[in-house]
Every structure is written in C-alpha cells, then in structure tokens.
Amino acid sequence: MTPARYSIFSLARNALGYHRNWPRAWRSPEPRPSYDVAIVGGGGHGLATAYYLAREHGIHNVAVLEKGWLGGGNTGRNTTIIRSNYLWDESAHLYEKSLKLYEGLSRELNFNIMLSQRGVLNLAHNRHDLKELSRRVRAIRLNGIDSEILDPEGVKAEVPILNTSPSPRYPILGASLQRRGGIARHDAVAWGFARAADARGVDIVQNCEVTGIDVAGGRVTGLETTRGRIAAKKIGLVAAGHSSVLAAMAGLRLPIESHTLQAMVSEPIKPVLHSVVMSNAVHVYVSQSDKGELVIGAGMDGYNSYSQRGSFRIVEAQIGALVELFPIFSRLRMLRQWGGIVDVCPDASPIVGKTPVEGLYINCGWGTGGFKATPGSGWAFAHTIAQDRPHALNAPFALERFASGRLIDEHGAAAVAH
C-alpha cells in the first residue's frame, strides 16, 4: 500500500502531464463497523497518533474520525511557531522530543513540511523580564536544549527592523533566542501524517462527527457518529477545543476552558523579517511567511467561546504592540483574520494519558501552543494507547495531576508565546 513517492523525478514526470495525473494522497473510505483503535479528531495530533500507532506499535486497524475536514481545526489555523524552550524538565523533554521528530519529519513522511529553523526570539522589556529570561535560558540549557541571551545590540543584529531605541514606552532590553526554533507549514504537517497513516492502513473518515461514547461496565465499546455506530476496543479523544464536549459524553469533567485565539496576516511584502519575534510584555508575536505575508498573533479572548471569531479588542491591542516594536509596519494593510478554539488548562500544560474509563484515552489541553508538539504528542499518545500506560515522556501530564497537585506551570512559556 505504499503510495507513489514524491521526488524530483515524480515532480518532473507530473509536470510533463500538466499535473493532472497525481495520485490521491489518501483514500476516503466508508467507516468499517469496528476498529481496534478509534481516534476522535483529525487534527495534527490525532493524525500523528494514528501514524505512530501503525508505525511504532504495529496497530493498523485504526480509524481517525473527523467531524469536518482534516486539519480544519487549530492545526490549520495556527501561526506555526515551533520551539522547545520550556522552563520545567517535564515540558522541556516532551517539546524537545517533538522538535527532534520535526527535524526529520519531511524525510520520514516523504512530504515537505517546510520546516524553517530561522530562530525564535522572546523579547525582554524590563529588568524583571531580563532576569526571568536568563533564568529560563539556563534551565533550558541544563536540559541540553539550545538557548541563548542577546543584549540589545545582539537583538538589533538579528532583527534590524526592531525599534531597539530607548524611546518606546516598553524599550527592548534584550531577548532569548532559540536558533533551532522556527516555523513549518501547518497543512503539510496534517497532510503528511494523513498520507503516511493512510499508507499504513489507517482509515481517515472525514465529515464524521462523534455524537456519543458507549461505555459498558466501565469500559468503552464504541462510538455513536453521524455516519452510524462504530465499535472500538480503544478510543483516543484528540479534539482540542471540543475536548470537554467529548469527555462529557463519557461522563467525565475536565479542567479545561475553551477560548478563542485569533491570528491575522498582512498583505505580502518583500522579505524583511527573518526570525520569529515574540513579546509577552506588549502581547504580540510575528513572523514572515514564505509568501511574504506577516503572520501576527497575540493573546486569546478572556471568556469561554466556541465561536471561532475573535474579539476586535485583541486585534486593536496586538496591532498597537506590533507597531511599537516595528514602526516600519505602520502602513501595512491586513488581509485576513481568523480564530480557533483553544483548550486551556489551569497550568498551561497539556493532558496526555488515560482516563477513569477503561480503554478511553485523552490528549488535550495544548491550548495556544500545541502545533510545535504535534509529532511528540502523537508519538507519546500512541505509546499510551498501545501499551495501556503512559510513556515516561507523558506520564507527568496525566489527568491525575490536578488531584495530586503536581501541576506543571508553564504560564511563563505559553501566556502569549505560542
């Protein structure tokens, strides 16, 4: 079932046929009546989970059920920043695993995910920021992850168009930099995992909304869907902003709130910004896409929402912050703005593990920053489902931490910086 390999030769061959003869990248099968594992949610994390179930654990009788289209949730709506500079050991290990997988992913999936390790800067605007950043950089380096501190001249050398003069209300006093951080093409990550999972026998079923979870004697038996009942021995919920809705179908409560996080892109301009620049203090972050558009994001709306429409208040604040950092952007026009529903945990860390219901596993709470974790999350979650116990990488991220009190507070890493 190996699909035609993408290569320079297949590109040339298909160019001769005016690109009319490319084979479909994955099938669109009818759901079968039963599966060994059903994954709910066809975003990056769900698709990666299915891929690693097949690849690492030899479990091929797997379905990914997606209510809309594949990658149409937060995976296709995010600003694609990838980095692993998290403060606590637990997070550092998980995000670094993910970054390492990303570094080999285009080759492994035979799909160009356009990973661009152009460096991610986090700005400091006051002495407290500076102290906090240097503490972080040291903790991150102790975990063997690249990270460095820049002074204002160093910041200027990396990003000449930043206003590093002392005149702004929040002047730039320095920055941390992870050079291995950067961006990737979000759709390609979803499509690459989908194609590779499909090639290993995984059924990707789109337009299939899960409406109920069947539990008998404390064990899952299957799912009610808009395309009929599907029996499953094991079920993984990977539904991001809709996690609470799905968990409630199995009688579970989660420590999650769903909020809208929005982003926007400007009209395309010539290359002007090489790195990714983030500022927690003035609440904005920006990178420039290969098309030349500036991709701009900020904080989320302060109230629960499933609307996928952000508030104008946030737009106003983030553009104000952007123009203070980059006066050169003041005359740019914005092309598009959109929102996604992010699943926010009280400690800004994800939940990846088992649930009190036998055979039901959950992967959620990635909130504003889970794109960078897509391969690592899928890898660890596949292990958890296959072995019925978490891998050491995701064991600290169990749902039980809210009862034990072992929270992993990453607000500093995730508040604005995604």
Partner: protein, 94 residues
C-alpha cells in the same frame, strides 16, 4: 466585540470588563472533609459547555462591581444578567 449590560451602569463595551469564569461554583461547606478528587473538582474542573453558560463578569473599568451573565458560548448572545447573590434564572421558582 461584546456589548455587556452591567446591572448598575447599563450597556457598556467589552473592553471595560473582565471575565471571572463559570459562576455558582460553591465553596465546599466542610473543606476538612474533602478528599483530593473533590478538591480537584472544586478547584479545577469546569463545565465548559458549548451553548448556554452562566459566568461572572466584573465591570473593572466602570463601577468595579461583579455580577452574573448567562451567555451562549457559540453565538455570544447574552440571555440575561443578574446580580451577585441572586438565584440563577429559572431556579428561583419563578
């Protein structure tokens, strides 16, 4: 952008308010008797419904007072606003 009717000041722009999350979470009457799971439920677990939600808002840049709002989390439509201490609509027998 929400237009929120403060019970004291009338309709004001969203930017004057802060949201305090789910309303009517009762502090456990006998905290000493609570187990870890019950503490977790009280402190961290939230309803997070897709649809009608009762939540607390504070008119931070106005009168500074807290009040309750029933709002739809999909349409953002505000069904009703009532003061702190008032019973939720439909639960007072009326």
């Amino acid at each position: 952008m929400l237009l929120i009717p403060c019970p004291w000041c009338g309709e004001r722009d969203e930017s004057e308010f802060t949201c305090g999350g789910e309303a009517h979470i009762r502090r456990p009457p006998d905290p000493d008797a609570l187990g870890d799971a019950e503490w977790a439920d009280y402190l961290f677990m939230r309803a997070n419904p897709k649809g009608a939600l009762r939540e607390r808002w504070c008119h931070a840049h106005g009168c500074g007072r807290w009040f309750n709002v029933e709002r739809d989390t999909v349409t953002h439509e505000i069904a009703t606003v009532y003061r702190m201490g008032d019973p939720p609509p439909g639960e007072d027998g009326s």
